[in-house]
Amino acid sequence: MDWALLGIVLVLYLVAAGAFVAYLATGRERLRTLAPLVLASAAALHALEIAGRSFAVGHIAVATFEEGLSFLAFSLAILYLLVDRANALAVLGGVITPLVAVLMGMSLVVSSGATELPPALRSAWLPVHVTLAFLGNAVFALAFATSLVYVFEDNRLKAKKPGRRRLLPSLERLDDLNYRLLSWGFPLLTLGIVSGAVWAHFAWGRFWSWEAREIWSLVTWTLYALLLHGRSVGWRGRRAATLTIFGFAVLLVSFVSVNVFFPGRHGGSFGS
């Protein structure tokens, strides 16, 4: 792995995070223009690093915990750049970019160098499964950020202390974005689970083995399914936002705890 390149990427993510936060604090337009540009250049370099590493190990570099974190950070950055249309959405950048920087930093900290993948796992299903799962996670993380901002703004409005509108998107826009993200994230999560089951079938001869990661995934899937169903019967606004935050908390617990505390096939050491 290329430490110098990763270092530059991390620094650029931190600069982008700083620019977004500074923009929200001061309202200076120049920062608003600068922040996404820095984020985009960081993501471009990051893409190079991931591509280079994947080329070196012969499969997409998402097999270890550190690679997972790095790929998640990258997906989040790209996703935010895709969503960042309206000026007021910079507030999401203010939530997402620090998260990207933290994930990236964690990835560097836990790094142990590239590991060889056991032959049993070398399959075309690996990139499919892991990419889908991480994209799904990134989408849910963005939905989570959207919901945080929603709850914050809702509280301010209820307390009769509205902030500066120029810096905050309308509640309606946030709610709409939340809905769209959920309806993207849910299929990704579903496909991630299905592809994982198929891969497991080829690798170990079983679709499902009730290990911790799988159970957590099922719990998360059920939660998001409920939420998506709820949205169609009027769970909008505040309630949808609260549930999205809860759903992501469960997802986070599942992601971290399984990787750290219950290292099975999904943990730090594959194939153990």
């Binding site: 500066r164 509108r165 998107p169 909008r236 606004g237």
Partner: protein
């Protein structure tokens, strides 16, 4: 010799009551006409422009102030209207030079306005400047001072948040609605009652492109009337609960002593709306809507006190921004002032050089006339020497003049007198 001064004479809401201001107010055409008359009748006046809004009547002029009598200016401003000159003069202020420029810059930047940071004033100042240009009463100094005032105002607007916050009930209400709804074009507002403030709010919502307006009034005819005026739909007051679920924005301004809408009413309407957000604005005193409505999910209720407190915060913010705006104005004043001063020094330097060049030429011609046998080379040498002597002699005085800070500086006056620049020759 004339030393130009910039001055500004006028009255505004700071100095004069509205009764006087409204009687002195001028329209565009009259302002141009009066500016021309001022130039004709006030001795020493070189340029002038008039400015008249509902808050101020002012004359900006440039010329020799010594000869200009404020009484003559007031007489022309009065323009035959039945007003007491003495009464007007008591409310007048007169600013000179830097202070005059500062006043104009502050007016254009809306720092002198009744509502700090209001955006209309810049357009009004521009309008009256154009009037002066059309009337032919604005010259090099006024062009400069007005353009500098405009650029100061633009900087103030873009670099400070002075105009960024709303300070009227209706605009704050619309602003809040825009914080809840992404766009108003597919939203419907329901007005209950026909108070003045509700009508203003309704107009504001219509101007910002609200999709539909419904009017419910106890006297149906008044509702019909308002609906016609604002292109809305009158709805029967008795069937409020039928129309409530259709409304995204509900504005109440009746004199009712009991709550028009209770928590239960709005909860039911919200359920029928599929819990889409609802924004209620209570302009009634006593209040029209039960304050507990604000506790409902996806429902936001602001009463008149809430709106006033938002306005209060916005005002404070504008006040804070005004300090930064004053700094910008000061910077722009300095840049204008350097130019204006040079305007006085420059003619002196130019005059000095012209005079020296003329003398030099005359004496050379005389010498060459007497010494006809000189060749071209010799002539050139003598010319060069004469010019060098003149330049060496003038070098020090000109260098000193260039360092002069003020147009009425002793050395400018002395230079003009010593070299006889204001004598006819």
């Amino acid at each position: 010799m004339s030393l130009r001064k910039l001055w500004l004479l006028g009255l505004s809401h700071h100095s004069a009551p509205v009764e006087l201001r409204e009687r002195l107010a001028l329209d565009d055409a009259t302002a141009g006409e009066l500016a021309r008359r001022l130039l004709e009748q006030v001795p020493g006046l070189e340029e002038c422009a008039l400015l008249s809004t509902c808050n101020r009547v002012e004359v900006v002029g440039c010329g020799d102030l010594g000869a200009a009598d404020p009484a003559a200016v007031v007489g022309i401003l009065r323009n035959g209207r039945p007003l007491n000159d003495e009464e007007i003069r008591r409310h007048l202020y007169l600013h000179e030079d830097r202070a005059a420029a500062r006043h104009l810059f502050r007016v254009a930047s809306s720092l002198d306005s009744m509502v700090l940071g209001e955006p209309q004033i810049l357009g009004q100042v521009k309008g009256f400047y154009e009037t002066a240009v059309r009337a032919g009463t604005a010259g090099v100094v006024l062009h400069r001072v007005f353009h500098k005032a405009f650029s100061a105002a633009k900087r103030v607007r873009s670099e400070t948040g002075i105009g960024g916050r709303n300070v009227s009930v209706s605009s704050v209400a619309v602003e809040l609605a825009m914080q809840i709804f992404e766009s108003l074009s597919e939203k419907t507002a329901l007005l209950i009652g026909a108070g003045k403030m509700a009508e203003l709010a309704a107009r504001q919502f219509r101007d910002r492109g609200i999709g539909g307006l419904m009017f419910a009034n106890r006297t149906f005819d008044r509702g019909v009337e308002l609906a016609r005026e604002l292109h809305g739909t009158p709805v029967p007051f008795e069937e409020l609960s039928r129309y409530l679920p259709m409304a995204d924005v509900v504005i109440g301004s009746t004199a009712a002593t009991e709550f028009l809408l209770t928590e239960a009413d709005v909860q039911e309407a919200s359920r029928l709306r599929g819990y889409r957000p609802t924004f209620l604005i209570d302009l009634g005193v006593p209040r029209n809507f039960d304050p507990r409505i604000n506790d409902l999910r996806n429902v936001y209720l602001y009463d008149i006190d809430d709106l006033e407190s938002v306005i209060g915060e916005n005002r404070e913010e504008r006040g804070r921004e005004a300090a930064r705006a004053e700094e910008i104005v000061s910077e722009e004043i300095e840049s204008f002032w350097r130019w204006f001063e040079n305007l006085e020094v420059v003619p002196t330097i130019v005059g000095l050089r012209d005079k020296a060049a003329r003398i030099c030429r005359r004496e050379l011609d005389r010498t060459f006339g007497a010494l006809k046998h000189l060749g071209d080379d010799e002539r050139k040498s003598i010319e060069a020497m004469a010019e060098a002597i003149v330049n060496k002699l003038l070098h020090e005085p000109i260098a000193r003049l260039k360092r002069v800070q003020r147009p009425d500086d002793e050395s400018v006056i002395l230079a003009r007198r010593l070299f006889g620049l204001d004598d006819d020759d």
